[in-house]
Amino acid sequence: MMACLLEAPLRISVLSEVTATSRHYVDRLFDPDPQNVLQGVIDMKNAVIGNNKQKANLIVLGAVPRLLYLLQQSSSSLELRTECAVVLGSLAMGTENNIKSLVDCHIIPALLQGLLCSDLIFIEACLRCLRTVFISPVTPVQLLYTDPTVIPHLMSLLSRSRHTKEYITQIFAHCCKTPEHQTVLFNHSAIQNIAPLLISPSDKVRMQALKCFSVLAYENTQVSMTLVNVLVDGEQLSQVFVRMMQRDKPIEMQLTAAKCLTYMCRAGAIRTDDNCIILKTLPCLVRMCSKERLLEERVEGAETLAYLMEPDVELQRIASFTDHLVSMLADYFKYPSSVSAITDIKRLDHDLKHAHELRQAAFKLYASLGSNDEDIRKKITETENMMDRIVSGLSESSIKVRLAAVRCLHSLSRSVQQLRTSFHDHAVWKPLMKLLQNAPDEVLVMASSTLCNLLLEFSPSKEPILDSGVIELLCSLTQSDSPALRVNGIWALMNMAFQADQKVKVEIVRALGTEQLFRLLSDPDTNVLMKTLGLLRNLLSTRPHIDQIMSSHGKQIMQAVTLILEGEHSIEVKEQTLCILANIADGNTAKELIMTNDDMLQKIKYYMGHSNVKLQLAATFCISNLIWNEEDDSP
């Protein structure tokens, strides 16, 4: 109690003392003698270095607007203006709150204005401060692009000195976040200006230039296509990147160079079977996933690798046997490790921070690895506790992990064998169903897509899923605004209806409602239309089912069929529709719906004479079913 009483006033007195000295620094900025002002700024510079508290105090006391004023005054000496920029840069080095205050004081336009000065030292000081402000996550990057003259001016300053090179490339690397940014930089010859910096003698410049290329090329075909033709000192850019991936180079450099090549490859600028991808980029990224790398590097490495090989089965095969990647990834799930929890709080904190990121990266990479090759899928599911990890990943709090886990599950669900075995053993449908109840659209798309596969006829999970009230859920998906969700919903219903019991079929028709069914038949998305037709076809199979459904919904179905056959549709859609008609013709009573419809018979006749063989076949199939008699069938 005593201690408390004593301590409180003491703290206040210390604080007021600090504020007093800080105030003194600020007061000196208003001295009428410019020489005193300069000395005041220099003293302030020395006082704030490495002292976050002092920085905060000065900001609170309003030093920033005054410093900015002095910096902008053309009457100030260059030395004073430079020192002001240095102090501001120092203040920016503090906490995120400092940056926010600086940005609120409009430091960015002031410093950008300063770049128009001719003095290199002053320009460098402004750039250094701008760099520090822009690399902070709290600074809106858009501020770099508001004035259209800024980017060209920065480009012109680029080659002035080693420092301008480093700061400007660093600013670009951090502020290029959208395709629009990429285009702006590209249109101002960023590539031609930055490419020579890749062979700069300064490590820092090389690294920042490389980072620029990775953000410029990301998902940008125009940039990537340009990059392949760039020569640096007579050497192709891709070869420069390959050299930067050599194993004795800094890890950050290897990883960033691999990203550049990955983005160029994905944009189609480099073939996936090019040696620089197969023999260099891919192994480099696999190395980045190894236990020796930092957690951040492992996350980036795995994500980039997943992205690189996503569309190419050959890359997936190579990666699957490179350096035991599949089992190496299993280690991503062991954070925080139980040992670190006891021994080292700092380490635990670090592990915890990265644990989610690691898991989602591993799921992503597994998803990419297993997206095509059955053997790889088998290898993945056989990895220690893999299915358990996916199951628990599906219900993790982090949305990123859930999404990645369901992507992984989706990739593995393409395997008939896995559907029959591990998927059923681990009852993956349960967490999947739970996930479907309440999730953002991107998760829903993946989850419903996975569900489609789980509802395939041979999947043992089909039964329990049916029992869990999935039909209502799928029907509600078909009403979604997102075409992807509508497709998945109707697709799943189609799979479910395939060779299903009468009960299930009736339930589907009931739950969906004929109104919704016909709405789907006029869906603008062809995929939705195709799957809906597929559903109808599956519903209308085996004679008793056909007769039953046609007796209750015959009129509407015939209407819909007519509409589609008369409408502007692709061959596939028409073929599918004729197949439905053929199924209807197979019914005993349903047959009459066609036989009594002259118009329909004319249509069938027309398609029998159609130039497309597929449609001819389907129409003939129709006729064949129509003339088939129950009596003939049973002699």
Binding site: D248, L279, F321, T322, D323, H324
Partner: protein, 654 residues
């Protein structure tokens, strides 16, 4: 400027009035012989090819490729001690194995009914530990009937009627199931299967004692075993069914897998480990040890002013007093300048009794003196020249002009040998004097036109000399101390063998040094060889030399009587006298002796003897430490510590 070669020879013949073909002509003749010999050899190789089953005229080229690649990959391996595997051993194999294509192709010739018919072959030599990281590849030419192929390693003596990996001390990666076998009949799932057309590699990391395989250039990841690898493993392949054929690549061709990149990672790892070696609290101790090492090194070689400046800056103590250092410096300078007679006099004067107690050293010095007389450098013959020797540049062709080079670099040697003599001897071609830019240094007269045999050198040197002109004007008499300091950086030490190797620069390096030297002010810009004649071509000097030779012979006989026969002395004397048997001693089989670099050894021996007589260490601690480090690294190779290959001493000397 450059005369046509035949004209040069004609000119030279006229000048020397000798019928012996000059070096230039001889070179042409030798070239002719070589061309003939090479074509003959090629023909022989073609004839022999039939028996070698290759029919490959590029075989010698491939051999050359192999040597180059092995040297690049495993620079630390001393192949005389531990040869590298280059082919399969025709002796160390099971009878079901057939070899062809220079013992690189392996095929199966047994029945292949079951695993009892398995057969293996080992390479000719085990993998030396000094490789650090070793790699070889095998291409599957045909998987044969079943593709039961194993690629890996085994120790000497492991049963060859088996596939590698099945037995103790053997390891293998098998094609049929992709499993890895580590001294066990049951394999572990490891990688993909492999078959016809695949290239399988095996990498042994002797630093962390692991091994991994590659398939078509992709690393399959570390094997399950760790720290389990036996020493002295041989590359091994095993086959089991008819039709199986594999080709080995021990470096004959580029590898599919980028092994050099893998090595670079480990090199970087080990270098950073060395750089980050913790010294903890002893930082201060280390600093003073290092300072003492530098200081003692400077003192040892007599770089007096530098040593003093260094000791002032670092507050270290110098044990020897300045005069003593300067005396040694003076004597060393004399020896390095080839003025051995004067050096002997100075030694006897400053260190009485030293040479009397070291008759071997005295004999060595006298032999050298004789050689220098032939060279025309020693003052006893130089005094016959019209100009005072003192006025000459004191470092004619001093070793710093031509730093030592390994014996392998013959070209450099020949240029080195060119440089010294010319500058000293009195040139008979006095008419050239008018062209010469240094009027004060007549001996250095060598205008380009008068140096037919080495037009290129003289050309380049003439430009050098222009640059160095202002210096040469001042650099007469005894070279000043400060000059010595600068020069010292270049020639220096030559104490231990290792130091010699360390000093070997690349060719480029040497060029830089040469440029430096001339600007330092030696003004030895005259590589012309036309002036090179016995004892500078002076009759009196030659007579003096012959007389000196007799004295030397007498000394030898006296020593023989006193201390018994000494083979080294005999050889030394013979070599020295042999010089007289050739009309052009500089281009004779024993001409090497005339190279000014040869002065370094005797110079350092004399220096060491003086230091020893003063109770000071005869070798500087820095050189001892270097020598020890070099020895340690070599020892590491012998005790199979693979990291030695990436921790070589010369990697750290720049």
């Amino acid at each position: 400027m450059a005369l046509p070669s035949c004209q040069q020879c004609a000119l030279r013949r006229a000048l020397c009035s000798t019928t012996v073909p000059t070096r230039h002509c001889r070179a042409a003749v030798i070239r002719g012989y070589l061309t003939a010999a090479v074509s003959l050899l090629t023909k022989m190789a073609e004839l022999g090819a039939g028996s070698l089953l290759t029919g490959d005229p590029a075989f010698s080229y491939q051999e050359h490729e192999l040597n180059e690649r092995l040297k690049r990959l495993y620079p630390a391996v001393n192949e005389e001690e531990t040869p590298l595997p280059r082919s399969w051993s025709p002796k160390d194999k099971y009878s079901y194995i057939g070899l062809s294509q220079n013992n690189l192709r392996v095929h199966y010739k047994g029945h292949g009914k079951n695993h009892k018919d398995a057969a293996s072959v080992r390479a000719t030599h085990p993998i030396p530990a000094a490789c650090g990281i070793y790699y070889f590849e095998v291409k599957i030419v045909s998987k044969g009937r079943d593709g039961y192929m194993g690629i890996g390693l085994s120790a000497q003596g492991v049963n060859m009627n088996r596939l590698p990996g099945w037995d103790k001390h053997s390891y293998g990666y098998h094609g049929d199931d992709g499993h890895s076998f580590c001294s066990s009949g049951t394999g572990q799932p490891y990688g993909p299967t492999f078959t016809t057309g695949d290239v399988i590699g095996c990498c042994v990391n002797l630093i962390n004692n692991t091994c991994f395989y590659t398939k078509n250039g992709h690393s399959l990841g570390n094997n399950l075993m760790k720290n389990d690898l036996r020493p002295n493993l041989y590359p091994t392949v095993g086959l089991q069914t008819p039709g199986e054929i594999v080709d080995a690549n021990f470096g004959q061709q580029p590898f599919v897998f980028d092994i050099e990149d893998y090595m670079s990672e480990w090199r970087a790892k080990i270098h950073s480990m060395i750089a980050r070696f913790p010294i903890g609290e002893r930082l201060g101790d280390w600093q003073s040890v290092l300072q003492n090492m530098v200081s003692s090194y400077l003192v040892h070689h007599g770089y007096c002013a530098t040593a003093m400046a260094f000791s002032r800056a670092t507050e270290t103590m110098i044990q020897e007093d300045q005069t003593s250092i300067k005396n040694r410096q003076r004597i060393q300078k004399l020896v390095l300048a080839g003025r051995v007679g004067e050096a002997i006099d100075a030694t006897q004067q400053l260190y009485p009794g030293l040479l009397e107690h070291n008759p071997n050293l005295l004999f060595m010095l006298k032999c050298r003196q004789f050689v220098e007389m032939v060279n025309g450098t020693d003052s006893e013959v130089r005094c016959f020249s019209v100009h005072s020797p003192k006025s000459q540049d004191s470092y004619p062709g001093s070793p710093n002009l031509s730093p030592r080079h390994g014996a392998t670099n013959a070209h450099l040697h020949s240029t080195g040998a060119d440089s010294p003599t010319c500058s000293n001897g009195v040139t008979p071609t006095n008419k050239n004097k008018s062209h010469n830019k240094y009027t004060g240094v007549s001996s250095a007269s060598s205008s380009p036109s008068s140096s037919p045999s080495s037009v290129n050198y003289s050309e380049s040197n003439s430009t050098d000399s222009t640059k160095s002109q202002p210096h040469s004007a001042t650099s007469n008499q005894e070279t000043s101390d400060s000059e010595m300091e600068i020069e010292a950086e270049h020639y220096s030490n030559g104490v231990t063998e290792s130091s010699a190797r360390i000093m070997n620069g690349t060719y480029k390096h040497q060029e830089i040094l040469q440029a430096d030297d001339s600007s330092v002010g030696n003004g030895v810009a005259d590589d012309s060889c036309s002036s090179r004649q016995l004892c500078g071509g002076n009759q009196a000097a030659t007579e003096r030399m012959i007389q000196f030779g007799r004295e030397l012979q007498a000394l030898s006989e006296q020593l023989c009587r006193q201390y018994g026969k000494n083979a080294t002395h005999k050889k030394m004397l013979q070599d020295a006298f042999s010089l007289l048997a050739y009309s052009d001693p500089w281009n004779c089989p024993v001409g090497q002796q005339l190279d000014p670099m040869q002065r370094e050894a005797i110079c350092s021996a004399l220096n060491s003897a003086i230091l020893e007589s003063q109770n000071l260490p005869k070798q500087p601690p820095l050189m001892l430490a270097l020598g020890q480090a070099t020895e340690c690294v070599q020892l590491m190779a012998r005790v199979r510590s693979g990291s030695c290959s990436f921790a070589r001493v010369d990697n750290f000397l720049h």
